[in-house]
């Protein structure tokens, strides 16, 4: 388990090699990912951009261990997660997922939610976990809400708490699936700032799915543009805007240029996906 991840020796290099995923090969036979490869360096913020229904979530689920892959392999820091002999990765707290619709347990308070991971992993005693959870929520600006249930706080706060729930386990990789999708632009800005702040503090590797191009460039070190289904890597755009980044960056010349570059690549795919009538699941 990843403990005491210091800023100097970064962990969480993901290597995705020739991954193919076919849903139900004998039945419906949907090829969601086809021979897709990408390398994600340790401590990198890697943004995945592609049209809806192209197979991004499928790829993330394979890394997280929610389902098997049909071919290829995925390694984390050189260790095999899934491959030919073991098609389904084991779920583990080193790869924490933040879900598209939010998956804080609605029957637990924010504090209990955050304390849950360390408690069931027996990394901390329940009371220690609660204490640490409360502390981390307070650091994330949620100190007044630790006793609230997720249904009682705003979606932005819930999402922030969910990220705290992930980070308390010292994960190597944070997997985020369109976490800010349903949010208004202003809340999104606040969420971006807090995610960047978290990243600067922890240096955790981030695998972030989005189809908001500005979000992708603003947050990412690299933007991987993937094709419409079946998902393949189409183009990688490196974002060489120094950190820490602030909102002024978004109006800079460099940012605009990158946006055009990414947009060019993704637009073509979006048109294809639209014509094919792709739809996402879940």
């Amino acid at each position: 388990m990843a403990k005491n991840t210091s800023k100097t020796e970064k962990k969480g290099a993901l290597s995705i090699k020739n991954v193919t995923k076919i849903y139900d090969p004998t039945g419906v036979n949907v090829m969601a990912v086809d021979n897709c490869s990408m390398e994600i360096a340790a401590g990198e913020v890697c943004m995945i951009v592609g049209p809806s229904g192209c197979g991004k979530t499928t790829l993330l689920n394979a890394i997280a261990g929610f389902h098997s892959i049909t071919e290829g392999s995925i390694h984390l820091d050189g260790e095999l997660l899934c491959g030919p002999e073991r098609p389904k990765a084991e779920q583990s707290a080193e790869r924490m997922v933040v879900f598209q619709h939010g998956a804080l347990f609605p029957w637990k308070t924010l504090q209990e939610n955050v304390a849950y991971g360390p408690t069931v992993q027996k990394a901390l005693s329940p009371s220690q976990a609660m204490e640490k959870g409360g502390q981390m929520l307070a650091e994330a600006g949620l100190g007044n809400f630790i006793k609230k249930f997720p249904g009682e706080v705003s979606s932005g706060m819930a999402r922030r708490a969910e990220i705290v729930r992930a980070l308390i386990n010292n994960p190597k990789v944070l997997l985020l699936d369109e976490p800010y999708r349903a949010m208004d632009a202003l809340t999104k800005q606040i969420m971006h700032e807090s995610l960047l702040e978290t990243y600067d503090r922890t240096g955790v590797t981030i695998f972030f799915i989005t189809h908001d191009l500005e979000e992708a460039i603003f947050l990412g070190d690299k933007v991987h543009i993937v094709t419409t289904r079946p998902c393949q890597l189409k183009k990688t755009v490196e974002v060489k805007i120094p950190r820490p980044r602030s909102y002024e960056t978004q109006s800079s010349e460099k940012f605009r240029k990158l946006l055009v570059e990414v947009n060019d690549a993704v637009h073509e795919e979006a048109v294809k996906a639209f014509k094919a009538g792709e739809r996402e699941m879940a």
Binding site: A64, A93, V97, W107, K108, G117, V120, N144, A282
Partner: protein, 290 residues
């Protein structure tokens, strides 16, 4: 940096909250409508039986005759709030319901949860339960009398059976209703299978379970009374048939009304217990304005 909580006003608590709720209740039209509705019913009833004495309704005791007996220290037809017999019937029925509902819940909830949680347990048991469930409760009467000794056994068995099926099915559907993402989140966070059961399956199914329990306590009353009417020695159901057989109609109606009140009260208790156990659910619904 974060000072959004300062603007919220202090919510009323304790006694003040109670006063606030009572006030709020009586400012809306609902309580007046309820009172008006009850009076309208009673009035119609009275007109039919005692006011105009419409054909056939003369066989029924009207509201005046019933309340005279019900609240009399010396009731004509033997049952009133001052007779011990009345309370004997009530307490026997209530005891049976407590036992039957307790057994049904104690068996049904875990069984339903396990069936929802584990594919193999479901495959094993669900078809059998589905096969037994549609058999009407009265069809079980002969079998239960053959199988179980005395009066208590069959009556409690019949009341348990119906409510057991409802509870089991609802608990299982409750597990089915839990969003897959909660299971995934629990898996990521390092839960064992048992952790998932305790922290996701049970609380996630609770809203469905309590909906089921509210129905199941109603079903328990329903089948208890049916059972008492067929094979009983005491209890409100027995009182109804007994009164009918002896041509005393007032106790019959008193027993019916009493059943209505107790049934209403028992559902309310189950609902209150559910709200207490599921604070999160109540608050979530409140946020959505419900």
């Amino acid at each position: 940096m974060n000072s959004s909580a300062n603007t919220t006003t202090v919510a009323p608590e304790g006694f003040n909250l109670f006063i606030y709720r009572v006030k709020k209740k009586f400012t809306g039209p609902d309580p007046y409508l309820t009172v008006a509705g009850v009076f309208l019913w009673l009035f119609t009833y009275w007109v039919l039986c005692e006011g105009l004495e419409i054909w056939r309704f003369t066989k029924l005791p009207g509201p005046v005759a019933i309340s005279k007996d019900w609240f009399s220290t010396t009731p004509f037809q033997g049952i009133s709030i001052f007779t011990a017999e009345y309370y004997d019937h009530i307490s026997v029925s209530c005891q049976r319901i407590l036992i039957a509902f307790g057994i049904a819940t104690g068996l049904g909830v875990p069984l339903g949860l396990f069936m929802g949680w584990s594919r193999s347990i479901r495959d094993y048991l669900f078809p059998v339960i589905e096969l037994l469930r549609p058999i009407p409760i009265l069809a079980w009467v002969p079998l239960s009398i053959l199988l179980l000794p005395g009066f208590e056994g069959p009556v409690i068995f019949l009341a348990t059976l119906a409510s057991f099926f409802v509870t089991t099915l609802n608990a299982m559907l409750g597990v089915d209703s839990i969003d897959e993402e909660y299971f995934r989140a629990a898996g990521c966070l390092g839960s064992s299978r048992w952790d998932v059961f305790k922290n996701v399956v049970v609380p996630g199914a609770l809203p469905f379970i309590f909906t089921g329990l509210q129905i199941s306590i109603g079903v328990a009353w329903f089948s208890l009374v049916a059972a008492e009417m067929v094979s009983g020695d005491l209890g409100l159901g027995y009182l109804i048939v007994d009164a009918y057989m002896n041509n005393v109609t007032v106790p019959m109606v008193i027993a019916m009304i009493t059943l209505g009140f107790i049934g209403y009260f028992s559902s309310a208790c189950v609902r209150a217990l559910g709200d207490k156990l599921m604070g999160w659910h109540v608050k979530e619904l409140a946020q959505q304005g419900r």
